[in-house]
């Protein structure tokens, strides 16, 4: 069981992730965008950050870059529908470049999420 912060602007996706992770007995904290995600990460210091990338206010990439500076061993799984809201640019490979341990393309299966979470949590790193 681990403490996991889920950041996604879509309430449905957050709800889904909370349910999926709760089945695995994880404690889940939610945030709606990058700004909130950063604040909640600092406040709760979770074991894992699962974040969407294209979000209003502050996007996932900027949040990852900020948190990575403050917490170099932060464990991150990035999720995205691929492409941007207004274009075809794909942020997932960028997330991997800036420090996400795993990237998941939406829609993903329960099994894919479970494996990504397990592997990320198994990766050595300090909080």
């Amino acid at each position: 069981m681990a403490k996991i912060l889920v950041v996604d602007d879509e309430a449905q996706i957050r709800g889904l992730l909370v349910k999926m992770l709760s089945v695995e007995q994880h404690e889940v904290i939610e945030a709606e965008n990058g700004t909130q995600g950063g604040e909640k990460y600092r406040a709760h210091r979770p074991d894992l950050l699962i974040t969407d990338l294209v979000m209003p206010e502050k996007n996932g990439i900027d949040m990852i870059l900020e948190l990575k500076k403050e917490f170099p061993s932060i464990r991150i799984v990035a999720i995205s529908g691929g492409g941007g809201i207004t274009g075809s640019f794909d942020y997932l490979p960028i997330a991997k470049l800036v420090g996400a341990l795993h990237i998941l393309q939406k829609p993903f299966s329960l099994q894919e999420l479970k494996s990504a979470v397990a592997e990320a949590l198994g990766t050595p790193g300090a909080r």
Binding site: E10, L16, G82, G83, G87, F89
Partner: protein, 378 residues
């Protein structure tokens, strides 16, 4: 003659015709009465040969009766100088002719420029359209994936958390939701490969053997009266491709070809190295001037008219009946080819057939060019 003109002379009409091809005059001064072919006949021959091209013909004549002159103008003469010819009048008439020729050249040049501008504007407009569609489909794909994540995720969760509810009926319903969700996901993958031109990660050299395998796999998809011919024997430079994408593209093109022939005819696949391709890409409209490895799929079906050809790469454009095709086949081909730095040329004749030519950039040359770059002079 002096006066700044470049002059060539000929003793008779036959000699004049012989010299025409090498000299390319803009003004011809000819006598009417000559041995062999006369000036009027020469005039007629020149008008036929120089079909539409610039040529100002001045006839030197002592036949200045009205009927004769009308005959001369009908034969294609632009002006005449009555004999005896004085140098001043000759020069004045030639200068008048030269003025007209210059004017004609300017008009012709302006017309050409206008046609070229119109062609460029149309090309830019089409390229913008493809870019805009790419952006739009990228946005749609992003939003759909978010919704699909919820649909598929909750269905999966429900099956996992509440198995066997309602004598297993719930399981069945949820499975149906998942199946539809997966189909929608595949559709989004196709859309995305149009918008981002994803090239896939695993690349291997394109070879005839690979294509032979693909053709073998495709045989069952073809009807009994479709002949699938393949010619992959030729040596080609190295091209790196994703095998799945090659399969996907050939399959799309072959199925389209089959439909275009109403299931009866010949589909021909051909792999070759083409040098010095100078043409405008049919889908992105970029002007090409390079060597490529070409993989073509041609058919002798009903062909595509020019108007339709401008739209065939648009997502969801389909000639098939509703429900018969996704309208994404050629959009995916566009996405894959441009994702790997390639282009597409389509030759099509209504009633005769179409040839879809996939142009792949040559891997080796690309690397060489990247290494050396163009020479700079100090």
């Amino acid at each position: 003659m002096g006066a700044g003109y470049l002059v060539e002379t000929a003793e008779n009409a036959a000699q004049a015709l012989e010299k025409m091809d090498a000299f390319h005059p803009e003004i011809v001064l000819t006598d009417w009465v000559m041995d062999g072919m006369d000036g009027l006949e020469l005039c007629q021959v020149l008008r036929q040969r120089k079909n539409g091209q610039l040529l100002y013909i001045i006839l030197l004549t002592s036949h200045d009766a009205e009927d004769s002159l009308v005959k001369a103008f009908e034969a294609g003469t632009d002006d005449y100088i009555p004999k005896p010819v004085t140098p001043r009048i000759l020069l004045a008439r030639v200068q008048a002719g030269a003025r007209l020729v210059r004017l004609q050249i300017e008009v012709e040049q302006a017309r050409r420029e206008q046609v070229e501008r119109a062609r460029m504007a149309q090309q830019i407009q089409r390229a913008h359209k493809m870019q805009a569609i790419g952006k739009l489909t990228g946005g749609i794909a992003h939003n759909f994936n978010n919704h699909l994540a919820a649909i598929l995720g909750y269905a999966e969760l429900a099956r996992e958390m509440f198995p066997g509810v309602g004598d297993g009926q719930l399981d069945e319903f949820l499975e149906n939701i998942q199946q539809a969700g997966v189909e929608a996901r595949d559709l989004v993958v196709s859309l995305r490969s149009f918008s981002s031109g994803e090239s896939g990660s695993c690349k291997i050299p394109l070879m005839g053997v690979m294509l032979d395998d693909i053709v073998r796999m495709l045989q069952p998809v073809m009807t009994a009266s479709t002949v699938l011919e393949a010619n992959f024997g030729q040596e080609i430079p190295q091209v790196l491709v994703n095998q799945d994408q090659i399969y996907q593209m050939i399959m799309s093109l072959c199925i389209n070809a089959r439909e275009a022939m109403d299931g009866k005819g010949d589909i021909c696949l051909h792999l070759q190295y083409v040098r010095d391709v100078r043409a405008s890409c049919t889908s992105c409209h970029e002007w090409l001037n390079d060597d490529f490895v070409e993989l073509s799929v041609s058919d002798n079906g009903r062909g595509i008219d020019a108007e339709t050809l401008h739209r065939v790469f648009d997502p969801f454009f389909s000639n098939k009946e509703v429900g018969q095709g996704t309208g994404l086949g050629l959009s995916v081909v566009h996405g894959i080819m441009h994702g790997c730095g390639g282009h597409i040329l389509v030759d099509s004749d209504v009633g005769k057939g179409s040839n879809f030519r996939l142009l792949f950039p040559v891997a080796g040359e690309e690397m060489e060019n990247a290494g050396t770059g163009p020479a700079m002079s100090a």
